[in-house]
Amino acid sequence: MSKFDLSRRSLLQSSAAGLAVLSTTGLSRLAHAGNLTVGIVYVGPRDDFGWNQAHAVAAASLKDVPGVTVVEEESVPETIAVQKSMESMINLDGAGLIFATSFGYYKPFVLDLAAKYPDVEFRHAAPLWTEADPKNAGSYFGYLDQAHYVDGVAAGLSTKSNKLGFVAAKPIGTVLRNINSFLIGARKVNPDATVQVIFTGEWSMPVREAEAANALVDAGCDVLTCHVDGPKVVIETAENRGIKCCGHNASQAPLAPKGFITGAEYKWATIYKMFANDVAEGQALPNFTGGGFDVDFVQNTPYGAGASEAAIAAADAARADVKAGKPIFTGPINKQDGSVLLSAGQSLDNYEPSLDQTDYLIEGVTGSIT
């Protein structure tokens, strides 16, 4: 039986190390990694104190591998520009492995190039690769909703008004999943908790993020978190208004010395180090690399002054549970429109592929996707 006969889900459940589908082809250039050029493309500036910086800092581990040259290009929009940038890396720099770190790079750009350059390996930072896609392409991703779930547990025990605020950029699958998990976490310890979400409509729009944070506080929320490219403004606004907050993407603890509870962080370093080892040993990179606490792909920021004893204890316990594979999505859970997502007794595995396709908010979240 070939590995690809397995559905991803069964594979996930059978694999102790999160999920990893090994590429059976390709890597001809990697196999003798005497001289490998690795290209990395970022959608924004590399030092944005957000998504791109998290990747850039972690990817630096590739530079330590002997014989590997890393070339990086930042602020590449999700247009033909990214296709040409990657092609330029291949044609002019001789890149044999490319990391594309923004969602919108995948379809059609990474897929097109993977078909056009079968000798070059492409890895993309989102859970999008399927077995129908070229074998020299692949995905790597940390399931951050696990960390947002733990944030939610801590937030649920930190709120007095039972209203939690969430500043979100766009209503896409990953963002919606994080919001849902945050609420599930909060409700686990505080059944009266609700989450009020405000979409800003842009990945980075500091003024509107600040307005959204203020509006949430004015509406009675006393814990804020967010999913935007640079959470700095939301965290600072929360601190300024004297309420508590949970971070996102990277550690924002120093920005809120009084109210910071904890935060949800990717741990890209684990993944890039893994890749670096594979490259150093001339091994094939997996087509699909993903996971959460179990494989150390995500983490929570060390607790800040805003975390109470009870919140810390509950959050630690919740994290241990998730790490052990206990599902976050356990019924009964209804969608916002009242339809049943999970009835009592049902649950979804934390790596259930349908969660990647989240296009709904659950009951208890106020705010509309459209």
């Binding site: 944005d48 979409f199 409509g201 003024v207 993020e209 600040a210 203020n214 506080v217 403004v233 600072e236």
Partner: protein
Amino acid sequence: MNDEAGLATVLLAMFAGAIRVSTPFLFVSLGETLTEKSGRINLGLEGTLVFGAMSGYAISYHTGSPWFGVLVAGLGGTVFGAIHGYLCKLPRVNDIAIGIALMLFGTGIAFFFGKAYIQPQAPRLPSISFGFWAENPSVRQALEINPLFLIGLFLAIFLWWGLKNTRWGLVVRTTGDSAPAALALGIDVDRVRLLSTMAGGFFAGVGGSFLSLYYPGSWTEGLSSGQGLMAVALVIFARWNPLYCFAAALLFGAAGALGPALQSIGISRGYHFFNAAPYIMTLLIMIASVSPKRSLKGAPGELSITK
């Protein structure tokens, strides 16, 4: 939440938003009013604003003094204004095009040197609490007012009065309305325009520093999202009247708060349009208030954009 409480929340948010968000628009549009009154248009103030935001933040971070940051931001803006003012006096050089080039250049320089300041926290400008009397914490918060807002208000009044009633006001207006007439009066047209553009640059730089040093209060490359360009456009909307600039900036700030505020009380269907409220509103007001029959009142006759 019942309807009445919801409405109160939205109105309060719009009031607070007007005060919080309007200041950069106010400073840029006041500066541009002065520049345009002298007969030049400087579209480059977007670049000046961004550079002001970066330099103000950087200086505040290094010196620990946000007010010194504001000053340096203003001086940086003055330099950009001087470049614009000087280049545009050369024959055949188009002020709109130079403005666009400076927008690019200013933004580029700010991004280039601003990389190191995205992560650190710089000391921010203080605010004055006018809401000490209020019980409601949201009202108290709304009345936390930054001194720059008040300075902007006084500046608007001063410019409005000064343009009408002082000698330099007359000189600027004459220069803007008819360069030949100004020449005939012995006015050095180029110099007046250079100084007006430099002053406009100073204000725009200060407006930028408000963004990074007070609200939202940190430096990132997405900080402005076109506020400088929009503020230049608001000058036409405000018909070159500093007091109208103040009103327009307030209105624009209030409308910008509408989207998040409505979402915060649970009205979120179609939030994209609420978020675009400032633009929709400005357009509707312009359609309703401007008429082709009336010539643009207050428009400087020399201005390339209204000729």
